[in-house]
Symmetry: C2
DNA sequence: TCAGACATGTAAGTCGTTACATGATTCA
DNA sequence: TGAATCATGTAACGACTTACATGTCTGA
């Protein structure tokens, strides 16, 4: 009895858009959900088999579509119910485990300059990511205005039989809103870096200007 | 050969403040680092033993201090070097796996009202957390102005022999700055919730005001 | 006296990644 | 022809959590 396996629901949810293969799922997640989700093949394929075994999905060989036969998975009504039950459940708080913050917190073991250098590297990394996100946002919001969906995403949204225009525009909206979440989160990290760099820089200057040596022990 | 075990370094880093027992480490992490870190006993005790086996820490029985004897762990110079090496290394990007976002993204499978309800619950949860953080911030920043450190933290900072005033005030600063990170992150999440709720609310109204039925399929 | 904190651990199991293995097809 | 992509999987391992087991001491 699995306890908090989210892969199951990620799969079920995406399959409820349209039937896909393991390979399709992996690509879709990489291209469209990478701001907030990831899956590995080692997790994907065995989980798909489990879903079939539990009657939440069915597997069938699709030999016409591209040229090479692939295994298409489809959600069953039971799978759909399980998925919607999960959707309505409150998510549990993820246990906090942020390596960057841990390192920052412990970096008081280093001289100020070194701590500041590490923090600056982190900031640069976030800045880079920020720019990528903004590019994606430009593309996506242009797309949702003009209806001209980017290729990788269009393919996913094209179902047979075609879903309603409403459903598709709602899915586009979700792409955009989750991206917005990523953007706001990165902005917050950048703002924090600036705040922290300012404080640490000031402390560093203070330390340098103070008369050094004499141990620095406490007065009694 | 462990690959990305962060527990090792969390332990090494905290022990470099002062020797502690497994129990002490757990409490310190729960009380002071819970904004960004957590450890379970099942990880803590075995890892401590491994560190000893690798010569990065030493274990000794301390029978005087409180009353009950406890096992105190101390970092060795080798452990200190390993820790500082890790500190200077760039952290790897954590793989993205945000259950809330996944659920939100997939919630287009639900009627608008339901998606909005789930999002509102998430927002309330973040708001609650926000207020807790702000309380902590008030306490901590008062403490760093007056030097009147909260009990739970003071105990950790009191070492024997006493560390320098500089070292201690730097540790206090780290408590405060990591808390600031938590606060800015939660603020960003709240802002995103408001943005998303607004957009979804508008879509929901649009949908209601539009003439329903007729399948909603696409015109050719 | 007895609940709750102090204190240390272990066993079983889940979740997830990485690396490998395999083979077909497309296209430059 | 040979590299890239399509496509499906498995084995081994690492990290982590949960639940359990055990016993002591303190203070209401």
């Amino acid at each position: 009895m699995p306890l908090k396996n989210k892969t199951r629901f990620a799969i079920l949810g995406l399959l409820s858009w349209k039937p896909m293969s393991g390979y399709d799922l992996k690509k879709l997640i990489e291209i469209g959900l990478s701001y907030f989700w990831s899956e590995s093949y080692g997790q994907l394929y065995p989980t798909l088999e489990k879903l079939v075994a539990e009657g939440l999905a069915v597997k069938k060989l699709d030999r016409k579509h591209p040229k090479r036969p692939r295994h298409l998975y489809t959600v069953t009504p039971k799978g759909r119910r399980a998925f919607e039950r999960w959707l309505r459940e409150p998510s549990d708080m993820p246990r906090a485990r942020n390596e960057h913050q841990l390192k920052f917190f412990l970096s008081c073991a280093l001289p100020f300059e070194e701590g500041i250098r590490v923090l600056r590297e982190y900031r640069a990394q976030q800045q880079e990511r920020y720019e990528l996100y903004l590019d994606s946002e430009r593309i996506l919001s242009a797309a949702s205005r003009t209806g001209d969906v980017p290729d990788e995403i269009r393919e996913v949204l094209e179902t047979d039989p075609p879903s309603t225009k409403d459903a598709r525009s709602r899915q586009m909206l979700m792409f955009l809103l989750t991206l917005r979440h990523g953007i706001l989160a990165v902005e917050a990290r950048l703002a924090w870096c600036d705040e922290a760099l300012e404080v640490l820089g000031e402390q560093s200057r203070l330390e340098k200007s103070r008369p050094r040596g004499a141990g620095g022990g406490d007065p009694p």
